[in-house]
C-alpha cells in the first residue's frame, strides 16, 4: 500500500484509498505519541525544510514536531529573517535550498498554487501547509481523523462547515476530503461569505445556524479571519455573533448531541462562545494532538516512497 502521488498539494482529486491509508497510518503514530519516548527512527537521514511565507503557530510547530518525531532533520525558514527581505524570488529561494540537498519541502504561502509551482521547480516531495484561499490538506485530514476517532466513521455523517467559506482553505479541503469519504457536507454562514457556485461542489447551503445545528452530526466552525478583512462582509461583529455565533444556549435549544471542531486560533466570543470552546461538545485540543500524528503519517508515506 502506498500513496498514488509523491506530493500532497490538496485533497481535490485525491482517491479515497489514499485518504484512508493516511488516516489508518495516523493511528500508528497516535500510539507513538503516547509512548515515553515519542520518537521513531523512520525518516533518519531525510532533510525537510519548512518554508513558511505566512505566519503560523499550530501548523508550523505541528509539522516540526512530526518531523522530529520521525527523526528527520528539520530546518525552519521564516520569511522575516531570510533573504526574501533582500528581494530574492521564491523560485531562487527554492532552487538554492534544493541545491543544499533537501528531500521534502513543507510550504505555506499566501498565493494559491505555490506548492504546485514548486513541484515543477524541484525534485523534493512537496507538502502544502496552506496556500492562500485554496487548500490546507493536512488540516482537513486531521479534522477527518478526529471525527472518525470520535464517531467511528465518516461515511454518511452530516458535516456542516460554518463561517467564512469564501476565504477559507480549510473549508475547501474539508469539502473535497469529506465528499470523497462519503460524508454529506453543507456550509453555513452570511450569504456574503458563501461563494456563488459552491453547490457545484456537491454541498448544501444553509443560511440559518439553528437549522444547521439541527441537521448536522458535526460542526466544523471556522475562524472569522479579521486580518483578511472579514469585517467588510457583515455589518458588525455583534451582528455576526447574534446570527452565527455558537453559544451553549443555542446548542441546548436545538439539540443535545453534536461534535464541534475548530481549526484554531479561536476568536472567543465571536464564532464560538467561551463556554462552548471549553465545553463538552468540542474536541479542539484533540484535533491539535491528532494533527501531529496525521502529519507524521503524511511525511512517512511520502518520505519512504521509492
Amino acid at each position: 500500500m502506498s500513496l498514488s502521488s509523491r506530493h500532497l498539494l490538496g485533497l481535490q482529486g485525491v482517491p479515497k484509498e489514499d485518504i484512508q491509508l493516511i488516516l489508518d497510518t495516523a493511528t500508528t503514530f497516535r500510539e507513538v505519541l503516547e509512548r515515553p519516548i515519542k520518537r521513531v527512527p523512520t525518516l533518519q537521514g531525510k532533510t525537510i525544510v519548512n518554508l513558511f511565507y505566512e505566519s503560523s503557530t499550530r501548523t508550523r510547530i505541528s509539522f516540526e514536531l512530526a518531523e522530529k518525531r520521525l527523526s528527520a532533520d528539520a530546518i525552519n525558514f521564516a520569511v522575516s529573517t531570510s533573504s526574501v527581505n533582500k528581494g530574492e524570488s521564491l523560485k531562487d529561494t527554492v532552487r538554492n535550498i534544493e541545491a543544499m540537498k533537501v528531500d521534502m519541502v513543507v510550504i505555506r504561502h499566501s498565493a494559491a498554487g505555490t506548492p504546485l509551482m514548486l513541484t515543477k521547480l524541484c525534485d523534493a516531495n512537496i507538502i502544502n501547509a496552506g496556500d492562500g484561499i485554496h487548500e490546507h490538506p493536512t488540516q482537513a485530514l486531521l479534522d477527518m481523523y478526529s471525527i472518525r476517532e470520535k464517531l467511528g466513521r465518516l461515511e454518511g455523517l452530516k458535516v456542516c462547515i460554518v463561517g467564512d467559506i469564501a476565504h477559507s482553505r480549510v473549508a475547501l479541503s474539508n469539502i473535497f476530503g469529506l465528499k470523497t469519504m462519503g460524508a454529506k457536507v453543507s456550509v453555513c454562514g452570511p450569504s456574503t461569505m458563501i461563494p456563488k457556485y459552491i453547490q457545484e461542489l456537491g454541498v448544501d447551503v444553509i443560511y440559518n445556524i439553528d437549522e444547521a445545528i439541527q441537521e448536522s452530526d458535526v460542526l466544523n466552525v471556522l475562524r472569522i479571519q479579521l486580518e483578511r478583512k472579514a469585517r467588510e462582509y457583515f455589518p458588525s461583529i455583534r451582528e455576526y455573533v447574534k446570527y452565527f455565533g455558537i453559544t451553549s444556549e443555542r446548542l441546548e435549544r436545538n439539540k443535545k448531541d453534536i461534535l464541534i471542531l475548530h481549526p484554531g486560533p479561536i476568536n472567543r466570543g465571536v464564532e464560538l462562545s467561551s463556554d462552548v470552546a471549553d465545553g463538552p461538545y468540542q474536541i479542539i485540543l484533540q484535533q491539535v494532538t491528532n494533527g501531529v500524528a496525521v502529519r507524521m503519517a503524511v511525511l512517512y508515506l511520502l518520505g519512504t516512497l521509492n
Binding site: M1, T28, R35, V40, T42, Y300, L305, N306
Partner: protein, 181 residues
C-alpha cells in the same frame, strides 16, 4: 507457494511450545518479573500460546504486549513495496522487567535488531531474551536466540513458512521454494 516439505505438524508445534514454556521458567527461575512481547504478526499468537501454557504450569498470568517494528526497519530505501504500519500495544511498564521477545522465524536477524531498538524506546528492561520457533540460519547480524523450537538449516533459495491457526487457519511449518525476487 511451492511446498517442498511439511516439516512440523500441529502436534509438533504444540510440543515445541510446551518445552519452550518450561525452558523459559527454568532459566528465569519461575515467572516472577517475566513479560512476553510478541512481534506482529505471528509472534503475537505464539506469545499468546506461551502465556496460556505458562498459566497452566505456574498458575500465573504474565503480561503480554505486541510490538510492530515497521517504523524501525532499515530497508525503507531498498524495498519496492512500502510496508503497512500497524500499532504496537504494550500497556505495561517494561522497566526492570525480563522480556521474552517472541517471533516465528529467525533469519537475517534484522527484524530482531529493529525490535531491540523499538523496545529501548519503551523503557529499560533488565533482560531481553529471544524466543523463536524456527532458526533457519543465514544471520547478517550478531544475534542469537535463547529459546529455539527447531533448527532448520536452509539454503538461500528455500524459505520457511510457519503457519498459525489463529491467522492462517492451520498449525504447520513448511519448507518452500523461495519466491523469485
Amino acid at each position: 507457494m511451492n511446498i517442498k516439505a511439511k516439516l512440523v505438524d500441529k502436534d509438533g508445534i504444540e510440543r515445541m511450545i510446551t518445552r519452550i514454556a518450561h525452558e523459559i521458567l527454568e532459566k528465569n527461575k519461575g515467572s516472577k518479573n517475566l513479560v512476553l512481547i510478541g512481534m506482529r504478526t505471528r509472534g503475537e499468537f505464539i506469545a499468546r500460546r506461551l502465556q496460556k501454557k505458562i498459566k497452566e504450569i505456574e498458575g500465573v498470568d504474565i503480561p503480554l504486549g505486541v510490538l510492530d517494528v515497521t517504523l524501525y526497519r532499515d530497508d525503507f530505501r531498498t524495498r519496492l513495496k512500502q510496508p503497512q504500519v500497524s500499532v504496537s500495544d504494550i500497556t505495561f511498564d517494561i522497566n526492570e522487567k525480563d522480556i521474552i521477545l517472541v517471533d516465528d522465524v529467525l533469519y537475517t536477524g534484522r527484524t530482531v535488531r529493529s525490535a531491540l531498538n523499538a523496545l529501548m524506546d519503551f523503557g529499560r528492561p533488565s533482560t531481553i531474551q529471544l524466543c523463536i520457533l524456527v532458526d533457519r540460519g543465514h544471520r547478517e547480524l550478531p544475534i542469537r536466540a535463547d529459546f529455539v523450537g527447531k533448527n532448520i538449516p536452509t539454503s538461500l533459495n528455500e524459505e520457511i513458512k510457519l503457519k498459525v491457526e489463529e491467522y492462517d487457519g492451520e498449525d504447520a511449518i513448511y519448507l518452500v521454494e523461495a519466491e523469485k525476487k
